[in-house]
């Protein structure tokens, strides 16, 4: 049962990175891809209806950690305190930026929110990438499961590289998403951004995957995940060059999910590794909730999660139409 909930949380984090990943990328690139105000509006419009639902994956991942592994939630959230403050500021500003940017007819107002949207969309995937990397790579955690390091201990070189790999991949993911959604000049610019990013992303992802395999943990399942992820990122590069945007989007989605899962499969059954002493590691056994509570959660999940997937999938279907050819941005 604890293993099942470990998988659920891994899937929620992977889902968050895949879904919010492209709206992070779109947010970060909206100024580059959409040159003028109309173009930017069109670009933001592609994520407008769905970004908030994507973010719920993060909230649910956090809540699931709290419910299924209270000790993990407690150590991680108090240990990463300052980083989380930064993440929360980013999430708050980003949400408000997307919702408020268009609500005043003033160029200065829009320019400011655009800066906020770009900056927060760049910082957030980096931060969450670093946080996930820290779980697997190890933080100074003492015998009472408390974090005893400083802010700089959160930034080992591996975690920074992983964070940058997540950031670069979400940018590519976002550019490809725009490739499927907008036409004309913005489409050309998104395509150019994607082509520029491809070599960098391939390099970063392969580095991150290999390093994860070596530093976090290997084995049969991690090696399958690693190979699949590398295959996916190579495929993404090829598909971008061939301008097969739909399939390229699938490939970067698989890449992002694979990056998350490579950390999770590598560290299992640990949920947070202690860099001080392996005996201090937080594992699915020593931080989990009791069977009754996990049973209740499992029933709730089994009933609700399929329904959630169904209506979120339906929402994507409703908004599947390309923005440029649709009727969505032709407001006077």
């Amino acid at each position: 049962m604890t293993t099942f909930w470990f998988i659920v949380i891994a899937v929620l984090w992977a889902g968050f990175m895949v879904l919010e990943g492209f709206d992070f990328g779109v947010g970060a690139l909206h100024g580059v891809v959409g040159r003028d105000d109309a173009g930017r509006r069109e670009v933001i419009h592609t994520i407008g209806p769905v970004w908030d639902g994507n973010e719920v994956w993060l909230i649910t991942a956090g809540a699931a950690m709290f419910a299924a592994f209270p000790g993990w939630y407690a150590t991680a959230f108090s240990g990463l305190y300052l980083a989380l403050i930064l993440a929360l500021v980013g999430l708050i500003l980003r949400g408000v930026a997307i919702e408020y940017r268009h609500k005043r007819d003033s160029a200065r107002w829009r320019r400011r929110w655009s800066v906020v949207l770009t900056a927060s969309s760049l910082v957030l995937p980096l931060m969450f990438g670093v946080a996930l990397a820290d779980f697997g790579y190890g933080l100074p955690i003492d015998a009472s499961q408390e974090f005893v390091g400083s802010f700089w201990d959160l930034l080992p070189f591996y975690s920074v590289v992983t964070g940058i790999a997540f950031l670069a991949t979400t940018l590519l993911h976002g550019a490809i998403f725009l490739g499927t959604k907008v036409d004309g000049a913005p489409h050309m610019r998104a395509a150019r951004v994607a082509r520029v990013l491809v070599p960098l992303v391939i390099l970063l992802v392969i580095t991150m995957i290999v390093w994860t395999y070596l530093a976090v943990g290997g084995g049969i399942l991690p090696s399958i995940v690693a190979l699949a992820t590398i295959a996916a990122v190579l495929a993404a590069g090829w598909l971008v060059v061939r301008r097969r945007w739909g399939w390229a989007f699938v490939a970067t989605a698989v890449t992002l999910a694979g990056m998350v899962l490579s950390i999770f499969t590598g560290m299992y059954p640990n949920v947070m590794v202690s860099s001080l002493d392996a005996a201090n590691n937080l594992t699915i056994h020593n931080v989990s909730s009791a069977p009754y509570s996990l049973g209740v959660l499992t029933v709730v999940l089994a009933v609700l999660f399929p329904v959630v997937l169904l209506y979120q999938g339906w929402a994507y279907r409703v908004f599947r139409r390309r923005a440029g050819t649709g009727q969505s941005v032709t407001r006077p």
Binding site: I44, G48, P49, V50, D52, G53, V56, I59, T60, A63, F66, A67, A68, F69, P70, Y73, A74, T75, A76, F77, S78, Y81, L82, L84, I85, L88, V89, L91, I92, L93, G95, V96, E99, Y100, R101, H102, K103, R104, E146, F147, V148, S289, A290, Y292, S293, V296, L297, V300, L304, F305, V308, Y311, Q312, A315, V318, F319, Q327, S328, V329, R331
Partner: protein, 463 residues
């Protein structure tokens, strides 16, 4: 200030701020859904214009409510890690259910509603706003269930080896008496908040005669919702007091500044002074028997005093200070009760004016409606001050003290940093949100499309 005080300050600050937006979101999503339903059924174009007008206010408000909710979700682990370890087994479950059952529903369908005006059929589009309303109400249900467990822990056992609380009956957690009454109270308060805001905004426009026939309709709807919600909210809140007297006698004794056990007990309407070192404050007005009636539901009921309860708790839990801050309790209770009564009175006057068809022409009432619109927010905050301050010194009543729940690994400088960051950020957000709210609240309605014209492609308030 100790780390505990700082952590409490931060939690109080972020939670109070968050709860300025929550009740308006819950209430306004229901009112907007009602307006759209009315348009769907009767086809008055005014109702569609009102739906879009108040929908814009809803969307502006929801944005801040959602993002500040993220802080709520994270800060248990950040500032209260010992608490999270201790109760996560029980307390985490409703939070996880909230994510799965409520947040997804609210967020996904809000996106569909805002952007779906001409992509979805009218009927499906109407269903999306109802899904948003249900989602926001459900989210309040789960968080109230979690909070009520802190007020009156049920359905758990303490693990003999780890000493942690473990869930053993989810049904008990979800049918906790404190939860049921507190939840209904919160829902009613949300409807009061939103209908007072709708009434205030409509009154502002009615005084200026901008589209009086349209804003007359929204004022009418607001009053129809306000009158029963205000009355019921007062009644349910009063009963919640009786329920809490059973489980948290300290909270109610402190709210009445009742130091020594009495029976029958008088209700103090106003006093000067009071507090730990001043147990015989100057009573200005007292109403005999009223406290007995309110706290126990009987004419001569006896209400335990703070001194007796303190002695009893020392026997039970060991030496310590178990009396919450009496000054906060006494006045938050009175602000809520007097303000709530004022709202009831005001709504009844409004109902009479509406009945006589003079609502749109009674200028003093319209002016008052504008000025009273912020009142429910003060009442909501008072209610939370009463219930959370009254739980102190416990973080979970009878199980864990607040000072034992704080994160051991988080230093003073770190908490101070976060308080400053949130203070500045929330200040800026408050300014931006207020600017937008007043801008859109004072805006003219979107012009009515000429008959036979193609309906507007996108509503006013999207990108």
């Amino acid at each position: 200030m100790s780390n505990v005080d700082l952590a409490r300050l931060q939690f109080a600050m972020t939670s109070i701020y968050h709860f300025l937006f929550v009740p308006l979101t819950i209430g306004l999503s229901f009112l907007t859904a009602l307006l759209q339903t009315s348009w769907h059924r009767k086809g008055h174009p005014e109702d569609l214009r009102l739906t879009k007008f108040f929908g814009t206010l809803l969307v502006i408000n929801i944005a801040v409510g959602v993002v500040t909710g993220l802080v709520q979700e994270f800060q248990f682990g950040m500032n209260w890690s010992a608490y999270s370890r201790f109760v996560g087994d029980v307390f985490g479950a409703p939070l996880a259910m909230e994510g799965l059952a409520a947040f997804f529903l609210e967020s996904v369908f809000l996106g569909l509603w805002i952007f779906g005006w001409n992509r979805l059929s009218k009927r499906v589009h109407l269903a999306t706003i109802w899904a948003v309303a249900v989602g926001s109400a459900l989210s309040a249900a789960f968080i109230m269930a979690a909070n009520s467990w802190m007020q009156r822990p049920v359905g758990y056992e303490l693990d003999p080896t780890t000493g942690r609380a473990q869930l053993n009956d989810i049904g008990a957690v979800l049918t906790n008496t404190v939860f049921l009454w507190a939840y209904v109270h919160v829902l009613l308060a949300s409807l009061v908040t939103a209908s007072m805001v709708m009434l205030g905004v409509s009154a502002w426009h009615l005084r200026r005669r901008t589209s009086p026939e349209v804003f007359g309709r929204s004022a009418r709807l607001a009053l129809i919702v306000l009158v029963p919600s205000a009355l019921l909210s007062l009644a349910v809140g009063s009963h919640l007091g009786v329920v809490e007297t059973t489980y948290q006698p300290m909270k109610i004794a402190a709210a009445e500044a009742n130091w020594n056990t009495c029976g029958p007990c008088s209700f103090s309407l106003f006093q000067i002074g009071g507090g730990k070192n001043d147990q015989t404050p100057k009573q200005i007005i007292e109403v005999p028997h009223l406290l007995s009636l309110l706290a126990t539901g009987t004419w001569n009921g006896s209400v335990q005093g703070l001194n007796e309860l303190q002695a009893e708790y020392e026997q039970k839990y060991g030496p310590g200070e178990y009396v919450p801050n009496v000054f906060i309790q006494y006045w938050s209770m009175r602000v809520m009760a007097y303000g709530g009564s004022l709202v009831v009175l005001f709504s009844l006057i409004g109902a009479v004016l509406l009945w006589r068809g003079r609502l749109g022409r009674t200028r003093w009432f319209l002016r008052l409606a504008v000025w009273l619109a912020p009142l429910p927010f003060i009442l909501n905050i008072s209610g939370w001050m009463l219930t959370e301050n009254g739980r102190q010194p416990w973080i979970v009543q009878g199980l864990q003290l607040t000072k034992d729940g704080v994160s051991p690994s988080v230093g003073t400088a770190t908490i101070v940093t976060s308080i400053i960051v949130f203070f500045v950020l929330y200040g800026i957000l408050a300014i931006v949100c207020t600017i937008l709210m007043t801008h859109y609240a004072r805006k003219q309605l979107a012009p009515e499309p000429p008959p036979g014209a193609e309906p507007a492609r996108e509503p006013e308030f999207i990108y």
